[in-house]
Amino acid sequence: MAKRGELVDRRSGARHESFLRHHDYFYLKFAVVACVAAIGIYIFTSPAPRHNGGTWYGYTLGTISALLIVWLTLLGLRKRAITAGKWSLKGWTSAHVYLGLSLIVLATLHTGFQFGWNVHTLAYVLMTIVIVSGLFGIYFYATVPARMSDNRAEKSTAQMVEEIAALDNDLREAAQPLSEANAIVVQHAIDNTKLGGGVFARLRNTHPSCATQHALDTLKAAAARAPRVQGGGAGEFAQVTSLLERKTVLLERARRHIRYRALLELWLYIHVPVTFALLAALIAHIVSVFYFW
């Protein structure tokens, strides 16, 4: 029985170890020890006149934190080169997560709990935003992929799109016998059914003006009105509505996939840009200290 957070690949049977559990939580343990040690030193030393960024301990924590931030940023470069082994990308990511979280402790102790409306606190706040957005990332990476994979039913995104396109072709054929008005509705469903859309539409995943749904509703209503006696008419409706129903199912699946992708990706759109704002603020913070030395 696989432990929580450990997935067994269904085909190969290979054990999958998430980046969170990597190396038996080595980096989590490392980060916890570092934080406890940092807090201990903070409590048991009393630099004059008080704890802040300007004491020997403050400078030490500040230097460690700044180097850590630069290293954490380098994941953006590192991830483009996937390697295995001890220095695997997974190991790197695991360290990124846990050492990044340890910054909450290290950088807070560095401040000595002195905050103000200045570049120093700005850097701290930006760092906090980056870390919190990263926490969202961890949460979504831990929860979304399983749901995503269930939803996908082992189909690739290209296959999903192809399926919908194939259904559109079938619809085009099946709708040939339909009347002008109904044909226009079906054509509209083929031409104007939207996948994707804006950021919020993707996250909400509600599509009140979906052309396919509209066509389905219209044709169902038309079929209900059509006289049963006139042979063939109801049959044509039946084929089209059946196709439209299948299409709506495929659309739902694709749209859920889109939502999951949005959840997986959205935090990065905060994490990455704010990281760069943080780097700028960090440089300003350090320069300001040495400029007015």
Partner: protein, 635 residues
């Protein structure tokens, strides 16, 4: 046979296949319906979209219902054309090309728009990834990063690096606000947004010259090189931190090392380790040090060494700090032995009358002063014991003066020692304020009009006495003035001989008055040490100047008021009641302080760091002392 319809299909490979149908009617239907002569299977085409009518030499296309078709880009509903003239009509994705061959109409039908759906027309990743929304990591990263750099790095540096006059004050303040690393101490608060006031050069730590430019009066604790020599061997940690500080261009011994600004009012280092870092066993490193070694107030503080007067002088008294309290105590015992018990047996109050010229002082000897022995050589003869007696003449005088003059049944310490408003020290004792109520300098009372000597001016006193008494003798001889008035005409009856005698004797009689006041029993003699003139006929009396210390421990600051409690009496610390000489230094010893005060980390006693009493920048004498930060503020 009227028309030929050729349906052309192009394969992906580019191969073209044509299906030809011959039509025999003149009326052809065009539409989506399968029975149409020209079948166009696309939902955009009407079931019966249009009708093609062929007549001799011409043909006509008419749309049916609401349908339209396009010719030359225009949507139309009807067109008539001569047979043979080329025509292209667009029906949805199809183009119909009309031509003529052997008198027959030929229609080429070709689908020119490939079947495409919304889903097919887009790449799958574009659908699924947020990358194709308005969100952009790259531009946001650049945007935010550059914005922060511009606002918080470029703007402040540009502001600080530009000549002050060229930058609006508001911009400089804003830039300072952005970079300030913590509040300044209260007195420096005004400089908070003017970084350049202290940080004169970029990337150079604040230098002492900058501090001293304003703080000209502040006393340096000691020469910097000497202070470095005074410091004990550095621990590994200290060495490491020193190396780092040197590497980052923060030289040792700067003002800013202790005055850590940007920490509010807590930024001044006042912890005792800063002091004991040097003062613990310092005399081994600085043999010429004038202060003793100390490591902890509670356990290891040298005995007090009061600064006493060696030679009194009104302008520049000579002071010494050579004796400890122990030495001074020995001096006191020696003085009392030398004076002998008999000399002090009875206090002479005979003839003492307030406001009378015949004040008689207590006989004293040289041993009353600190002369030659450890003691305070203030030049004043003042036995505390006599003045604090509960019975006897002093108490009697106090009762006579009574509460109107602020006295009780006996003389109290506070009758002479008035606390300053700051509660730290006392107002200087002066003849006019504290002595003259009893020790009057009135020397004659003429008809209810008091004649008084000027205190502190020996020459003036002599001249006054000579003038007064010569005038009186002469006046009496002339029959005027003087105390015994006679009736008019009486003087004239006096003999010329009497007058001659009076004129001759007047100077001697006046001189004897002068000698009396400077000699035993005289008003000055009681309190002052008088040097009589060398020649018997001279009146050149010298009174030794008096220098009263307002503190015997100028290197420390002792606030009296916090120590004043209901139970605590002055005598608990100051042994005034038994002091027979003003040479006694009535300062409590360090042990009496240590009864309550321990070191900075004392467990049981009051935790007392160095700065509770001592100021780092204090000057010894003459200059206003900085109030040590650790001292309790007087209420």
């Amino acid at each position: 046979m009227t028309a030929t319809i050729r349906t052309i299909t192009r394969r992906a490979s580019g191969r073209e296949s044509t299906r030809t149908t011959e039509v025999a009617t003149n009326q052809l239907s065009i539409g989506r319906a399968t029975d149409c002569d020209i079948h166009l299977p696309d939902l955009r085409i009407g079931l019966r979209h249009a009708r093609l009518t062929i007549s001799a030499g011409a043909f006509l296309i008419e749309a049916e219902g609401d349908n339209e078709f396009k010719v030359g880009g225009r949507s139309i509903r009807r067109i008539e054309q001569r047979l043979g003239a080329p025509l292209e009509a667009h029906f949805g994705p199809y183009v119909l090309k009309f031509s003529e061959a052997a008198g027959r109409l030929v229609v080429d039908v070709e689908r020119v728009q490939q079947i495409a759906t919304a889903a097919q027309s887009i790449h799958s990743d574009q659908v699924f990834s947020l990358r194709h929304t308005w969100l952009s990591k790259r531009s946001a990263a650049w945007g935010f990063g550059l914005l922060v750099a511009a606002l918080f790095l470029v703007f402040p540096i540009a502001t600080f690096a530009t000549n002050e006059d060229a930058v609006p004050a508001a911009a400089r303040m804003q830039a300072g606000q952005m970079w300030i690393s913590g509040e300044l101490s209260g007195p420096h608060e005004l400089l908070a947004r003017d970084c350049g006031a202290c940080h004169e050069a970029a990337f150079v730590s604040v230098r002492d010259e900058t501090c001293v430019a304003c703080h000209r009066e502040t006393n340096r604790h000691a020469d910097n090189a000497r202070m470095i020599r005074a410091h004990g061997a550095m621990s590994m940690t200290e060495k490491g931190m020193r190396t780092v500080a040197d590497t980052f261009n923060k030289p040792a011994g700067r003002c800013a090392e202790c005055h850590m600004e940007h920490n509010g009012d807590d930024g001044v280092a006042t912890a005792s380790p800063s002091c004991t870092g040097c003062h613990n066993a310092m005399t081994a490193r600085l043999p010429d040090a004038t202060v003793g070694d100390v490591s902890d107030f509670g356990r290891d503080h040298p005995e007090f060494r009061p600064t006493v007067v060696r030679q009194a002088n009104l302008r520049a008294p000579k002071l010494t700090r050579q004796w400890t309290l122990g030495d001074l105590e020995k001096g006191r015992l020696a003085r009392e032995t030398a004076a002998g018990a008999g000399a002090r047996a009875a206090v002479v109050c005979d003839g003492f009358a307030i406001g009378q010229p015949n004040f008689r002082g207590v006989p004293h000897t040289g041993a009353m002063t600190g002369d030659g022995l450890a003691g305070d050589n203030s030049g004043l003869v003042f036995p505390h014991d006599v003045h604090l007696q509960e019975r006897g003449c002093v108490a009697a005088v106090a009762r006579r003066l009574n509460a109107d003059e602020g006295y009780g049944d006996k003389l109290e310490c506070k009758n002479c020692h008035t606390e300053n408003e700051d509660g730290v020290g006392f107002r200087p004792v002066s003849m006019e304020r504290n002595c003259s109520a009893c020790h009057s300098l009135v020397f004659e009372n003429v008809g209810g009009f008091e004649r008084e000597l000027r205190h502190g001016r020996t020459k003036d006193v002599i001249a006054t006495l000579l003038d007064f008494y010569q005038a009186r003798v002469v006046g009496a001889a002339l029959g005027g003035g003087g105390e015994d008035r006679r009736r008019p005409g009486e003087a004239a009856q006096r003999s010329a001989g009497f007058r001659a005698t009076a004129f001759a004797q007047a100077p001697q009689r006046a001189a004897s008055r002068v000698r009396a006041i400077f000699s035993e029993g005289g008003a000055c003699y009681g309190c002052h040490i008088v040097t009589p003139p060398a020649r018997a006929d001279s009146l050149d009396f010298q009174v030794q100047p008096v220098t009263l210390r307002d503190t015997f421990l100028p290197k420390a600051l002792f606030a009296h008021r916090p120590h004043e409690t209901a139970e605590r009496q002055c005598e608990d610390c100051h042994e005034a009641r038994s002091s027979k000489s003003s040479a006694d230094v009535l300062v409590p010893n360090v042990a009496s302080c240590q009864a309550c005060h321990g070191g900075e980390r004392a467990a049981a006693n009051v935790q007392s760091g160095c700065v509770m009493c001592h100021g780092f920048h204090s000057k010894d004498e003459g200059a206003a002392r900085m109030t040590p930060t650790g001292a309790r503020a007087p209420k």
